[in-house]
């Protein structure tokens, strides 16, 4: 096996590890934001339908993922892959 191939394999393994760690991080961050949203719907004194609550949670989750993914992925990758 050539040096280049070895190097590529190591890189791939590191990149996979970084991707895994990043996915856990951004999903957790997004879920936290969703929980904040849910908490507000429960405690702000207004009444919300289940659909509004669930729909809102999904939309907040989608936006939170979109915001956190570009921030988390490169920083985790930088830490792990270098």
């Amino acid at each position: 096996m050539s040096m280049n191939e070895n190097m590529n394999m190591n890189m791939n393994a590191l990149e996979k590890k970084a991707a895994r760690k990043a996915s856990v991080t951004y999903t957790t961050v997004s879920l936290v934001v969703v929980l904040v949203f849910l908490a507000i719907t429960l405690f702000d004194g207004n009444t919300y339908t289940a659909v509004a609550r669930i729909g809102g949670m999904i939309w907040v989750f989608v936006l939170s993922m979109i915001v956190s993914m570009p921030i988390v992925i490169p920083s985790v990758k930088k830490k792990i892959v270098g």
Binding site: N8, V51, G55, W59, I66, I71
Partner: protein, 859 residues
């Protein structure tokens, strides 16, 4: 154009990237490439569609970069070359060629066919070029030449644009008819529509069936690109579209199939939002594909000048070969009306050649033995032969194309800021969309919602919309309206058009910074000798005393000076010859150091020199002394002449001003630019020249090594200084100035120091460079102001700032229309630069002095 460049352990490639549509794509590609370990620097240019990558050769490679670019949804187009390989005799030769070529960085596949004597090579242009591949095969001992001749690059680029245009046209054909039906269906109960529109068109299931193909056929590109980017942590505007279209479509679908699920009910299906949103975005893409390539017309025009074939004499026979196979030293034959294939020196024949396409010089130039010819220029009526001196990437045309391309791939300071903003914009907009959603969900809906709510320019009622649907609508509209396309396009499109306009006029900007800085110049320092003046002395005045004729005095002076090697003597000889006088040999000649010369011709004794020579020889010069002082006061060197012991006259020699120098200086003053002349000459001569040209500030007796320090002093006064001079001799001063302008470099532009290279020896091009710089920056500022105003007003409107007072909302489809128009308006505004001409060019055209030389496609 360029292949892998290596310096130390670092290598550089310029990879073409297809599929980028906005500044966010640029940021996405840059970010992805930077994430590769070993990549040191990345610069991506949206309009040229190229990514310049500097990387550590041991750690990163071209395939890795290509993979990363492809993973985020863009394409790195491969190029294919079909070569004729002569000299292969067996399968081993095939393996040898294949192995050697495959080992080159950037080559992806090689197929060598022995019986056909051919090799098909696929490679990434920018990582390697065809010449390098051919060279590698030739190094193995085989002959390699291209089977296809020229033009591929142009054709390929055209193909790519056509492909994108075809794709977006197809999307338009799907999106617009269906979206129109959806819109009619949605509003069939209003106005007079019930009389014309069949009832079934208003059915929600029909509307859903019409909207679905719009969201998933023309709209699919946005989902695909954004997901590919998100996977690698990169975002672009496709994500804004995808979330917008996706949200509108999902809500519409839920309200169709589960109308009482609480998403606004059957009255809030918003099919027209999803459909028109997609249709408008596709319209924007279509218009971009239609207009984008036009800002880089200059490069295309230059490339189209390249001749495809050349007639060369080999082994005594005239044969026709591909132009890129011409080798240095080949004798090339050029016939009337033909394009000259490479650079060279005329060996025989006479003709006139139109060089306007390269130098901007409007008048045809005479060519005879010894003249230099430039590849891609057009021969007129005569025939001639020339020896090729520069071929391939060394030709003037190739250097100019490279320089213009480099300038277009570089970034101005102002662009770096715009790119930074645009690059972080997407994430910022999603945060804003989140805030907008939170606000309208928890506060706004309860506080401000009224059942009479409507969209702007729509009769659609929002009375049945619940809190979630309402907050979601505003959040989606905010996403859609916030596209940073206009911001991202503002600068690069203008720089591209400006540098192209410069190239058309023989003014080459080396980078976007040069364009930007030249617009801010308020002082121009001209080197005197060779810049403002011709740089070699010539006869300016001849005065004779009674009894002598002008011709005799000039002829005898030239004969006396013929044997001297003094530059002033050479000027007199040249002056006499220019006037058609026969300059024979003297019978006797003696140089008197520090005084002049003494000669004898047919019994006449000639003395030519300074006052001291005349005093020594006791020759009375009478009123010539007064005239001499006057000429010296004008900065000229005057020489007295005596024939047979009697004062015969005087001849003045001086370095003369270049044509148009005065006009250029005048124009610079009119533009509010301070003009300074710098020279090593004595103050009297310097001031005399400055008076003639109209310059008020003179820096005289400055040694060449001190010129840079003088430029620095001006900069310390707060001036933005350009130094105009010889690109080689004045290199330190050119480098010190904010903008170094190398003038009259001819066509060997690659050798020149300086930020702006003027091919012609015309001072007026300095004015032209500043005018083009100012016009370009004006355009950039207009574009940026427009983009800024669009976003600053659009986003709050979309976020519902006026809703509490008016009850009106901006609909997602209206937001997408605004977004498409903002990009289009920036592109169209930039295209107006095409009409711009530097003032002198404009005046020439008005006075009809400029023949219309349009670059013609090469043979």
């Amino acid at each position: 154009m360029s292949e892998t460049m290596r310096s130390g352990n670092s290598a550089q490639v310029s990879l073409p990237v297809e599929g980028m549509t906005c500044a966010a794509c640029v940021a996405k590609v840059e970010k992805a490439l930077k994430s590769i370990s070993g990549v040191q620097e990345v610069q991506v240019n949206l309009l040229s569609g190229k990514a310049a990558v500097t990387f550590s050769a041991g750690q990163a490679g071209v395939p890795q970069m290509v993979k990363v670019i492809q993973e985020i949804g863009y394409e790195v187009p491969e190029e294919e070359i079909l070569l004729t390989v002569r000299g292969m005799t067996c399968a081993a030769c095939v393996a040898k060629v294949e192995k050697a070529v495959k080992g080159l960085p950037g080559v992806t596949s090689v197929v060598v066919n022995l019986p056909a004597g051919s090799a098909k090579v696929k490679f990434y242009p920018g990582a390697i070029d065809k010449t390098r591949i051919k060279k590698e095969i030739k190094a193995l001992g085989y002959e390699a030449s291209e089977k296809l001749t020229g033009q591929e690059a142009l054709d390929r680029e055209k193909d790519a644009r056509q492909k994108e245009l075809r794709y977006q046209t197809r999307n338009m054909w799907i999106a617009w008819p269906l979206a129109s039906l959806v819109m009619i269906g949605m509003f069939r109960d209003y106005w007079i529509l019930p009389y014309f529109v069949p009832k079934f068109l208003g059915n929600h299931y029909v509307l859903w069936a019409l909207t679905t193909p719009i969201a998933f056929i023309p709209g699919w590109q946005f989902f695909k690109h954004s997901w590919n980017g998100l996977k690698r942590g990169a975002t672009d505007m496709n994500l804004l579209y995808a979330t917008g279209i996706g949200a509108a479509y999902i809500i519409a679908t839920i309200n169709t199939f589960w109308p009482y699920a609480g998403f606004g009910g059957p009255g809030a299906t918003f099919f027209e939002s999803a459909a028109l949103l997609t249709a408008f975005i596709v319209l924007g893409r279509f218009l971009e594909a239609l207009t984008r390539g036009r800002t880089s017309d200059a490069i295309r025009k230059l490339m189209s000048l390249q001749a495809k074939t050349a007639r060369v004499i080999r082994k005594g026979e005239e044969i026709e070969i591909a132009a890129d196979e011409v080798e240095i030293g080949d004798i090339v034959v050029v016939r009337p009306g033909e394009s000259i294939p490479v650079d060279g020196e005329v060996t025989e024949g006479y003709s006139t050649v139109v060089e306007a396409m390269i130098t901007g010089e409007s008048m045809p130039v005479e060519k005879r033995a010894g003249s230099q010819v430039i590849g891609a220029t057009m021969n007129k009526t005569g025939s001639f032969k020339f020896r090729a001196t520069r071929v391939g990437s060394e030709t003037a045309l190739a250097q100019i194309i490279k320089m213009v391309e480099d300038a277009q791939t570089s970034k101005a300071h102002i662009q770096k800021l715009a790119d930074f903003v645009a690059g972080h914009f997407i994430a910022g907009v999603h945060v804003l969309a989140l805030i907008v959603f939170f606000f309208w969900f928890f506060i706004g809906y309860a506080a401000f919602f009224t059942p009479t709510s409507q969209f702007v320019l729509s009769i659609y009622s929002l009375s049945q919309v619940g809190v979630f649907g309402f907050a979601l609508l505003l959040s989606v509209t905010t996403l859609i309206i916030s596209c940073p396309c206009a911001l991202g396009l503002a600068t690069p499109s203008a720089v591209m058009a400006g540098t192209g306009k410069g190239a058309e006029n023989g003014i080459l900007f080396k980078g976007a910074d040069a364009v930007e800085t030249s617009s801010k110049l308020n002082a121009v320092v001209f080197d005197k000798t060779g810049t403002l003046t011709i740089g070699e002395p010539s006869v300016t005045d001849v005065y004779v005393t009674a009894g002598f004729t002008r011709n005799d005095v000039l002829r005898l002076a030239a004969m006396a000076e013929k044997s001297s090697e003094h530059p002033l003597g050479e000027a007199i000889v040249r002056g006499a010859k220019d006037e058609g006088l026969a300059v024979g040999d003297t019978d006797d000649f003696e140089a008197i150091p520090g005084h002049g010369v003494r000669a004898a011709y047919q019994g006449q004794k000639v003395l030519l020199g300074n006052r001291r020579l005349m005093q020594q020889q006791k020759i009375h010069i009478g009123n010539l002394d007064e005239k001499m002082e006057q000429l010296e006061g004008e900065g000229k060197t005057a020489m007295l002449m005596a024939i047979d012991g009697k004062a015969a006259g005087l001849i003045a020699v001086a370095d003369t001003l270049k044509e148009n120098a005065k006009a250029a200086v005048e124009r610079l003053y009119q533009m509010g630019v301070q003009v300074v002349m710098i020279t090593g000459d004595n103050r009297r001569t310097a001031e005399a020249i400055a008076r003639q040209v109209g310059i008020k500030t003179v820096l005289a007796e400055v040694l060449p090594q001190d010129k840079a320090a003088e430029v620095k002093k001006l900069q310390e006064q707060g001036l933005k200084v350009a130094m105009v001079g010889d690109g080689i001799n004045d290199a330190p001063a050119l480098a010190q100035a904010h903008v170094g302008i190398a003038i009259g470099s001819g066509t060997d532009v690659a050798k020149e120091t300086g930020d702006i290279i003027l091919i012609k020896d015309d001072i007026r091009d300095v004015v032209g460079a500043i005018e083009i710089g100012r016009a370009t920056m004006r355009k950039i500022k207009q574009n940026l102001v427009w983009a800024f105003v669009y976003n600053v007003t659009g986003i709050p409107l979309a976020a519902g700032i006026l809703y509490p007072f008016t009850g009106l909302l901006v609909s997602p489809e209206l937001a997408s229309f605004f977004m498409a128009m903002s990009s289009l308006s920036v592109t169209l505004n930039t295209l107006l630069i095409k009409r711009f001409q530097p003032s002198f060019r404009r005046e020439q055209e008005k006075s009809g002095m400029l023949p219309a030389h349009q670059p013609q496609p090469a043979r």
